[in-house]
Subunit: 208 residues, 2 copies
């Protein structure tokens, strides 16, 4: 049986080197390259056609989820094994939609990592125990990030900057009344009734 060809993607060189050394003694696994950015990774996949990509989510140039999606759509035969520290449920589910074949935490043991690589190469899914537990937990009331329209996305940060409706209107060449309407709609979507709570929530959801 030919060795599984693995590509390593992580923005920390030390982690890359460490992983490489860790996988080196395993006869059924062959590391075909290491990348530190999304761009590098995409190029390397094209050049090396690995079986499995070990993908860290924190890359400097693109969010890992985007890389995952691109790889999955362009190279369906390449299995993406996400390797990260985040273990939020929403993130896991999102990545599965993006075509990831598995999800291993960075504090997993080397044995677990090897197991995960074999599993996804065999066409199966792999989740570390912690992640599985997370998926089994009944969905908490679903925080649900409101979907904002283009205009609303534009206005929200301006509100956060402390601009008044009039100032925003001037800047966007709108009537202040229009801005007030958008403002009300945004408040409604976030289910709050004043700016303070809105900005806090928006901040928590990374919308600023």
């Amino acid at each position: 049986m030919a060795a599984i060809r693995v590509l390593l993607v992580d923005d920390h060189r030390m982690v890359l080197e460490g992983l490489r050394l860790l996988l080196q003694p395993l006869p059924h696994i062959q590391v075909v390259g290491t990348c530190a950015s999304a761009a590098e990774a995409l190029a390397a996949v094209a050049a090396e056609a690995p079986d499995v990509v070990l993908l860290d989510l924190n890359l400097p140039d693109q969010p890992g989820s985007a890389v995952c999606r691109q790889l999955a759509s362009t190279y369906p035969s390449v299995k993406v094994l996400v390797l990260t520290t985040l273990n939020e449920k929403s993130m896991v589910q999102r990545l599965m939609q993006d075509g990831a074949a598995g999800y291993v935490l960075k504090n997993a043991s080397p044995e677990e990592l090897a197991e995960a690589i074999s599993r996804v190469h065999a066409g199966r899914k792999y989740f570390s125990d912690e992640v599985q537990e997370l998926l089994l937990q009944p969905t908490p009331p679903a925080p649900a990030v409101p979907t904002l329209t283009r205009r609303e996305k534009e206005i929200l940060p301006l509100i956060a900057q402390g601009l008044t409706s009039q100032a925003i209107a001037d800047q966007l060449f709108l009537s202040a009344l229009t801005v007030e309407t958008h403002r009300r709609n945004i408040l409604a979507k976030f289910e709050v009734n004043n700016t303070a709570a809105l900005i806090r929530l928006a901040g928590e959801h990374g919308l600023l």
Copy 2:
């Protein structure tokens, strides 16, 4: 010359194993233990008396800066080499105050890491190039987190929750007018003139 005894502290087991393998071939360095939490690290330092502690900042139980401070005060002969991904100036300076002997980024090369270990063991400081550049940059206008009084610290989060001055007053058994005064003082301290900007800034400074 005896080998430098190094203790590795990082919450990701893979990073630990990777580092261990990375340092293994170096004859002048001996890894005497690996720890995944602050508690473990403190115990291990007491037991092993290493020369150098390679310390990651993101530990599950305590902020790395606290560990650094404790180590430096309890075991002055132990050199702490901070190994992390954060490279904010304030963080670097804070850690130096906490007694760190050096600062290496996670995407440093293994050679650089070895060099850093040798340097701090020799009693010198070590900063990776990127960090040095950061330190050389003229201090940007100093963002300056405003100092809030006890009452203000109490009221600010309530504002962020979307409570009106009246509601806050009810909750704290105060006059709404008093709350308004505090509110104005808070706005003044943050140098903003409405709640939206206040909450955004407070959030950025981690005051909520």
